[in-house]
């Protein structure tokens, strides 16, 4: 028996990329949750006698600081673990928020058309004409530092991308014969959006969300690199990179380790999105042995 009887779960398990992506992000979440217990030191505790220690495997590394210390003698491992908390929170909430706003406006404009569509489109045009990073920075200056404000800034900047792409998809889906078939089957506008349009949007939405995971991680890092992310005492990966810049030539590890973590996270998010899209999209189920 081929794809015919294979359930969603089985289809998911059959994709190594998806397993890697989901596995890594799950691990990251667990590490972030367990940070207070796992971290060997307080992330802000300074040990000025042991600054710029190399990690365990390099010569001169000590078991006390497994990933070494930075220029202020803070434990890199502990800071990475606490930094992951910010990353996980932002990854979990920011894409959802952006998708929610973008999707809602795309459905309103795309499905009902007319002046509503015109309004939504012009609004998106206006929004996309601002440089994204600049807009986020301005927003962060206007708001105050803090994780919830970072999320707000990312949502505010990125919903327009969702809206633009999804609206085009809604316009296509609305003209499908099966939507007309639902109409003459007695379905109302909400019913059609819920049962015909939204499921059709799902593959695109998932790809966009996965992209947004990566973008959110990077955007947060950019903001914290510029010192405008979470409160100053909260360790973030972007902040670690900024701190690591100063001691790049004497010890590259405080810079390289957070960069490496970011790359892995972005990669995992991409794999997860790609795999999910393939698993969810039943259109990709071929008729067994079609000639």
């Amino acid at each position: 028996m081929t794809a015919l009887s294979v359930s969603l779960g089985r289809r998911t398990l059959a994709r190594p990329g998806l397993l890697f992506g989901a596995g890594f992000l799950l691990l990251l979440t667990l590490l972030a949750l367990a940070a207070p217990w796992l971290a060997p030191h307080d992330p802000n505790e300074q040990d000025l006698l042991n600054v710029l220690l190399p990690p365990l495997w390099a010569t001169g590394g000590s078991l006390d600081y497994p990933l070494g210390t930075d220029a202020l003698g803070q434990c890199v491992l502990s800071r990475l673990l606490y930094g992951a908390r910010v990353v996980v929170i932002i990854m979990a909430i920011a894409p959802l928020g952006a998708a929610l706003i973008g999707c809602l406006l795309a459905l309103l404009g795309g499905y009902f058309g007319g002046w509503l569509d015109w309004l939504v489109e012009r609004f998106v045009d206006l929004w996309l004409s601002f440089p994204a990073v600049l807009l986020a920075l301005i927003l962060m200056v206007a708001l105050s530092p803090g994780v919830q404000n970072v999320i707000l800034a990312i949502v505010f900047v990125d919903w327009a991308r969702f809206c633009r792409v999804l609206r085009a998809e809604v316009l296509l889906l609305r003209r499908r014969s099966y939507v007309a078939a639902s109409r003459i089957g007695g379905a109302g506008a909400l019913g059609i959006i819920w049962r015909d349009i939204l499921p059709g949007l799902l593959p695109t939405l998932i790809v966009l969300m996965a992209m947004e995971f990566s973008i959110a991680v990077v955007a947060e890092s950019v903001l914290s690199f510029a010192g405008m992310s979470a409160a100053p005492q909260v360790p973030t990966w972007g902040g670690m990179i900024a701190d690591g810049m100063g001691s790049l030539y004497s010890s590259p590890y405080p810079l390289l380790l957070p960069v490496f973590c970011m790359i892995l996270t972005v990669l995992a998010a991409t794999f997860l999105g790609q795999g999910l899209r393939e698993a969810v999209d039943v259109r990709l189920l071929e008729r067994a042995g079609a000639a």
Binding site: S177, A187, V282
Partner: protein
């Protein structure tokens, strides 16, 4: 030196081996599937094609017709490979030719005409750019390209070729695009042209023009043509010789006219009997039960691949494959029971067939002065004048009445269907249902969709790909929460009504065949037992045997539920078989209407006459395409 000693010298051997054959296949087979259990998609195929002749490959979808073209182009789908046999082109072994030489011969010596001309032309490049690019690849000097391109377009009878070069494909009709493709195919004076369903996507009149054009070019350049088609009528007239394929095996082969005059194989005959004729007595169609086995089951079939659906199959048919036996001049048949087969031909058909007539004098739906005008494009602050898709027409449907609406693409047929259904709003006119006017209110819409249902043209597009069949069939119960508990039972009932196995209810549309999807589509429209069905080209995409099944199903539903049908179709045979009344639309205007038999036998309007003449007749002795034939498709 005598002849027998000549035969051993290599030079003489070449002469004796009939060098006039341009394309020769000998025991060619194409296999797919896993290496340990391969199944032959084409098995033991042998044919010969001489220069200047046309060889037709006829069969239903899945028969392997297109595989031969793909072998020629070395474009077999992934997982398939040539399993054995030989394919010689002009004396060369085409299968072992080095890749570079093979590539060079494509386009210059072997050319292809595709099924979808619109899809084969690049939409963002002009016709001229694409033609000139092609000519340059064939080695025409750059300076001469434009002139040659104009010459080529003239050759395929396209008007104003010089201006046409600057047009984009979307500005041309399907028939015109296909002419451009033919011009491209003949640009390199190829020895062989493969036409894969080249006219299937076109209107009948365009089809007649294209076939005649192909013939003329073929005579001019002595080109051989491999003509792949599923249309038996077309094959009768467009081909010199014909191979009838079923599940990858040749079932019958021979000269087209004599083969169709005296079909011997049960499959060929069943195909012929499944096609509704345009002339002669109206007989019930004998639909071939079941469907062609899929590629994956080929390996398990030991005997004749048609045996599972054959009425005359005996044990011997299931045990082994019959050899191709000669039964006449070049006429070969692969069947164990030839004697029994020719006997059955003598049996006269019993009852006459009756199309769907009105069952009562009352009218269930009356439309008056119905028209649709699309608003023109906005030009600054003004609008261009609107485009009339449908000019005012009157229409009434009685219970049990099947009405056909015929016309070419762009004649407003589909617009009419959507107006009746209420998917578009009419520009003028009124529709009344059971004596009450249909307005815009919510109640009227509810009343409308309870009585009128539509079966969509493209069954694949009309079924939400993410829903299972059971849910799709009972889609209209979704908005009525009180009926939710009955959905499963109703789905099973509907599946039985339209002849779907209960196991299909759990599947997705992508896992069904085209015929099964169309049944789901029909079943869904029957869910609320409507009075009137509006069917837009519902059988045009189906194989003839499936088409006959679906048509008989519609007549059966009429007997059971007294439904009426508004059938939009370009196939006059289908309309004649199903409908008692016919309306002919031409460019949005109703040009003729009346009893189907009378309109078809004595057409009054010149357009109706041209439409009827353009249909390739099933009678091998008829003249087709007709000599005097009005031009219809060349105005852009």
């Amino acid at each position: 030196m005598n002849l027998s000693s000549l035969a051993f010298s290599p030079v003489a051997e070449q002469f004796l081996a009939e060098p006039e054959w341009l394309l020769e296949a000998d025991g060619l087979s194409v296999v797919g599937g896993p290496a340990e259990a391969p199944s032959a998609v084409l098995s033991d195929l042998s044919f010969r094609l001489a220069a200047g002749r046309t060889l037709g490959l006829v069969g239903e979808s899945g028969a392997g017709k297109s595989m031969i073209g793909r072998v020629l182009a070395r474009q077999l789908p992934a997982g398939f490979r040539v399993g054995g046999g030989q394919l010689r082109f002009a004396g060369e072994d085409l299968l072992s030719l080095p890749a570079e030489r093979h590539r060079q011969s494509l386009g210059s010596r072997i050319a292809f005409i595709p099924q979808e001309p619109m899809g084969a032309l690049n939409p963002v490049l002009t016709i001229g750019r694409q033609l000139i690019e092609h000519l340059q690849r064939l080695g025409t000097p750059a300076a001469a390209c434009r002139e040659r391109a104009i010459e080529l377009l003239e050759q395929v009878c396209l008007p104003r070729p010089a201006t046409l070069l600057g047009h984009y494909p979307f500005e041309l009709s399907g028939g015109m695009c296909q002419r451009v493709m033919i011009a491209m195919a003949f640009a390199g004076r190829p020895q062989l042209v493969v036409s894969d369903e080249a006219t299937t996507a076109l209107d009948v009149s365009s089809q007649a023009h294209i076939v005649r054009l192909l013939r003329e070019l073929q005579e001019q350049y002595a080109t051989a043509v491999l003509f792949v088609t599923h249309d038996m009528g077309l094959a009768t007239h467009a081909c010199d010789d014909v191979l009838v394929l079923y599940a990858g095996q040749i079932m019958e082969s021979g000269p087209a006219k004599s083969l169709f005059r005296r079909t011997l194989h049960p499959y060929t005959r069943a195909l012929r009997e499944a096609i509704p004729a345009l002339e002669g007595p109206l007989l019930p169609l004998r639909a071939l039960a079941g469907q062609m086995p899929g590629v994956e089951s080929f390996a398990q079939i030991k005997g004749c691949r048609f045996a599972g659906r054959c009425e005359q199959a005996t044990q011997v048919c299931h045990d082994g494959v019959a050899p191709l036996e000669s039964v006449g001049p070049q006429h070969q048949v692969r069947c164990w029971n030839l004697a029994a087969a020719s006997e059955r031909q003598a049996q006269p058909e019993a009852t006459a067939h009756e199309p769907g007539r009105a069952m009562s004098a009352q009218q269930s739906l009356v439309a008056k002065g119905l028209s649709k005008t699309w608003p023109g494009r906005r030009q600054g602050f003004r609008r261009a004048p609107g485009v009339a898709a449908l000019k005012p027409l009157d229409l009434s449907i009685a219970p049990g009445e099947f009405i056909g609406i015929v016309g070419e693409s762009g004649s407003g047929k589909s617009t009419l269907a959507r107006l009746i259904m209420g998917l578009e709003r009419q520009s003028t006119g009124v529709i009344s249902l059971n004596g009450e006017m249909l307005g815009d209110s919510r109640d009227d819409w509810t009343r409308r969709i309870a009585s009128i249902q539509m079966i969509f043209q493209d069954a694949t597009a009309a079924l939400n790909p993410r829903w299972r069949i059971g849910r799709l069939l009972t889609q209209s119960m979704l908005s009525q929460p009180r009926l939710h508990s009955e959905r499963q039972a109703r789905a099973a009932e509907l599946a039985a009504d339209v002849g779907l196995a209960a196991s299909t209810l759990k599947r997705y549309p992508s896992q069904l065949s085209g015929g099964q999807r169309q049944r789901v589509n029909i079943g869904r429209s029957l869910c609320d037992t409507p009075q009137i069905l509006v069917a837009d080209e519902i059988v045009s995409g189906l194989d003839v045997s499936v088409q006959a099944q679906v048509m008989n199903l519609l007549l059966e539903l009429r007997r059971q539920h007294k439904i009426s049908l508004l059938l939009i179709s370009h196939d006059l045979g289908v309309v004649r078989y199903l409908c008692s009344r016919v309306l002919v639309l031409h460019q949005g205007e109703l040009v003729e209407q009346g009893e189907t038999e009378r309109v078809l036998a004595h057409p009054q309007h010149p357009y109706t006459r041209a439409l009827i003449a353009a249909v390739p007749s099933l009678d091998p002795d008829a003249q087709w395409p007709p000599a005097a034939f009005p031009q219809m498709d060349v105005t852009p």
